[in-house]
Symmetry: D3
Subunit: 244 residues, 6 copies
């Protein structure tokens, strides 16, 4: 099968790291291509930056459908534009946050999310609520890291994330850790070794779930929430117009 992974920001480095991790546990017959937004911020740490890349992400989704990918993964731990992407996509679109949280529920009684700086908490809290798993989420642990710092000094990042995860396990009752930023690619198994609990990279989770859906020949429901928008008059924005 062929999966398109979309990095919503414009960081080439992060796109590369996402590409590498998304292939790491993919099956031999799964082909993955990773792209990013063509304009916009280098990283996403605010609602503002997230909202600016809507067209960037949705343009890639349209393209992914035209190029007949079998599934699309949006690789940002805020699951941005998931609903709108599903509306216009013929093939399943998966978010990395929802993917990691659903997998976490299979592995432990409660999971915690270890993420970037404190200002992202409200958005993550609302996301957990929207996904519906607030009763399974033991805590959101923020750190001092911003997305673009994560891959700068891997030893420091590993230490910071492991410490936050350890606190979540000890103080909050976490039994599984979800890495709460696409930029945390590559730290999962080292942390798992140190912490002795499952540590989940959402990108890998989304790829594995995309494969599972593909095998079972499943597509997303289009009867209500993800129903295709009707053709409609647009002012400009030619490439985004829906046609029958």
């Amino acid at each position: 099968m062929r999966i398109l992974v979309i990095n919503p920001n414009t960081s080439v480095e992060m796109t590369g790291a996402i590409d590498t991790i998304s292939k790491k546990y993919a099956r031999a017959d799964t082909q993955i291509e990773t792209v990013c937004s063509q304009e916009g911020p280098r990283s996403i740490e605010s609602a503002y930056e997230r909202d600016l890349v809507a067209q960037g992400v949705l343009g890639r989704v349209i393209e992914g459908n035209k190029r007949k990918f079998d599934a699309i993964v949006i690789a940002c731990y805020g699951d941005p534009y998931l609903y709108s992407a599903r509306e216009i996509s013929e093939v399943p679109v998966l978010g990395i946050a929802e993917s990691s949280m659903h997998v976490a529920c299979l592995l432990g009684y409660k999971f915690s999310i270890v993420t970037i700086r404190e200002q992202s908490r409200p958005r993550l809290e609302e996301l957990v609520k929207r996904i519906g798993l607030e009763s399974k989420c033991s805590s959101i642990r923020t750190t001092s890291m911003s997305p673009l710092d994560l891959q700068k000094d891997p030893a420091v990042t590993l230490k910071v994330l492991t410490e936050a995860a350890r606190a979540a396990i000890k103080e909050d009752g976490a039994e599984v850790i979800c890495l709460g930023c696409a930029g945390m690619a590559g730290f999962d198994k080292q942390m798992e070794e140190a912490l002795q609990v499952p540590v989940l990279d959402g990108i890998i989770c989304a790829v594995k779930l995309a494969e599972a859906l593909f095998d079972y020949k499943l597509k997303q429901s289009k009867v209500k929430a993800f129903r295709k928008p009707e053709p409609k008059e647009f002012l400009g924005m030619a490439r985004f117009r829906i046609v029958d």
Copy 2:
């Protein structure tokens, strides 16, 4: 005070109707200017259409701040881009959905939302949850109307909305009705007369709350959720870059 009302879609007719209603109960010393997105769909009935106008709305918010308005109202009953708008705004930004729901809570024990077609239910349900008032919302009643139809034959619209509201009152226990689309401007008082319960237009509610905040010299909190994004490297999108 000066309020900027932003209609996220590109319908000139709807922008006119919003402008009229927003001024109807405004105080004598309140000046209101209504603008719409400069490109995008003529109406918003899907997550996709909503997400496409992010830049349209946020561009208007930036402009509103430059032009020193005292408050900004986003006139779409999905409260799109409220959080991102608040991040970049020096002055209060209000959504019409949240405004109508908070006012509704002052007027009755439970409120229902009467809105457009059934596919909007999931988004509205999530919005009510995000606002935190799910225990006060007796129901969301969808109808056969799409936004651009609402002002076509006012007598028909009035009948359809009044019937849906009556069902909400009788069967769901609604004591207050919120009109769940910016395009429903102008039907509130006629429905109120017919139904004998308060009927709320969210645009008016937002304008009145903006005046109240202004008088009490209140601004939105900027310490966490609505904290100003940091300056950051962008690819393109010059007009959206944050500078110190």
Copy 3:
């Protein structure tokens, strides 16, 4: 418009402070009169003291309707007798707790309440739940203050309240502070200055919301929860009897 503010306790000092604060941000054409209960405890710090003033408050509500006020505010941060007052009132009755909490939701993602001594927590917790905003309330912070102490040494009060608010912001994630006692009148703007987040006095919030409802010609719904009681045989209590 004319607003009647009712202080449920019998403290003349507190009634004066409430009167002053209620007028501070009122519009030029708003007339406010503040009254208190004619018998009962000097302050309300228990369910018992609250329940004893039912007749005191309801008597004032009857009087306020007879004297044709346009709105009534019950100035005690437990919103006592709100539902019963609404049942017998032709004009809107607002509580200061609900008013401050709804306004707080417009200004931040989460609010905390800074209040008097620990024994009031259960009542406040139940109130937040009844209002329906438990998911938006980051914490209730109690202090060492009792209502009658609050105005004794303003410098001490300011320090105690500011410290509790600061802890709520730092440890609980509060973005807005609600002052949880009518006796805290006058500390809002000084605290706001010190804390750099909005600080809300419920009395002012209620007055501003009363003005907004008046302008938009809104009354409370009378179809179910606040329906007028039917005339009924009473033993004694002549002045409280409902007549057609």
Copy 4:
């Protein structure tokens, strides 16, 4: 042991019916005395009527403590003044609504409340939430009956209540029925026979729980919610003043 049952309204007939039912399943060594408010409405069907009897009920609670009863039952299915009564009482005070709901949970997976007219729904809904058992309450079924009608034509009442209960069982999934008004005394076992599910009279439940608490030598906690109010200056209301 000695139990004081307080009927908050002033209906002598209802007080008699309550007295009879409260003794029906009491143990041989349990003595029960039933009293009512000395002034106020003949029945309670609104928040207003409920709030007017605060002094009536609390005066009886003070008296019950002076006369050294071992427990007090407030016989109105709104559990009015329960918290304030507990604050000033040395002995357990039980509500009939909470008593019936807790017993119902021992007998079935879900219970429904069959009660008087529709306007009482908001108060009952809030009560169930306050008690914390909303997830166990399958429905509140209102009827055409008002409290003073219940004992007028017992055959009619039995029919109306049984039909409402049957609907709750069939349509809402109720497995146990709680009779939602003190005036429904005496219908429980006939309904149980007809419906083949447990039917609970709250007065009897409260009496039986009072006996259980007495045997196990339990009193209510006085450390926070039900802490004794401090002595305080009162204007008038001599008989309600707290002294050390």
Copy 5:
């Protein structure tokens, strides 16, 4: 009346302690017999150990019905097999956890559970949720004790439990303490004395509630959740087959 108390584990010592405590506050005309499982673990500290005793417990329930007991109590603070026991029992079956929690709600605004080691928390959390009282449970406090240690050195146990309870009162807002293990029999009144809040032994609570149900002639509802299983072909397990 006659009550059968079933200790699900195989500890003879614990069975003795349970028998003693269950009789301590029983009425003079209540006869109690305590039995334990005939095979299985000596104590229950895991889901695994609990699940292994299903046949042990259900066999005793069948026996209890044959021997015409009037009520059955399952004396393990996980309320194991409560639903299945009720399905096959003609007489009420009570769990000690649910019994203590419902009684706790009559005595305070919030209760905490003081229990054995940390690994039991997930099971207890789910139990509280299933009972429906999560909003009334201030905390679950685990300790260093395992069930078989509890009666070894009563002075140590008393100290450990009292300290955990004191922390629950001070830090979590508990007003009532539930002893969260059948092996804690006998510590309730000493702790109550030390802590000055009600301390509940679930076994005693269950016995007292069984007496209350008996007096009021109540049985468990058999219309849905606890409906009797239909006769069905079994492979082996002769003594567990349902016959008409």
Copy 6:
């Protein structure tokens, strides 16, 4: 990889159907073996029947670990013994209910469960709550079918299940259907064709998720809820004793 599928009941026919369906979408290199309980009821339709097979299921789990399977699936839509199985298993144990519900959340905004007779509702409701997805579950639709009838006349079963699913979609807002009984194996794709929404067989979902976990080298967390029980004295039950 090698997966052991455990059918908790003793029906040889159902075991065969489960074996067939579990292999249908498995990957070429996945080997599946399906076993059932060695004694107990032929089907599970009550808590009683479920609880009787605890030893049957747990014995199979022990065996599966000894025989070095890579994952274990418990094929009953009540997810019985999932927690205890995880405690004693070195390899992941998956339930078919949780598996189908988590997959459903990836495919639609809300899912409904179509299941057997009405008496199973309480158990399913509690299961959905335990899994934490009650806000995503639009309804549980029961039918007239019992497990052993399901494969008798496939045309009838297909009709009954499709009708129930259609009602869930139309009236309850379901966008995805979960088949709520292991005995419904084989109806998924026919229903999907008829209904035009995803229809999920939990056995297949569990197999696909087991493969995904295996690829990503994930095991269940053993730090708290699923911690291995300590060695302990047993009375009898030799084969179930835990040894170091």
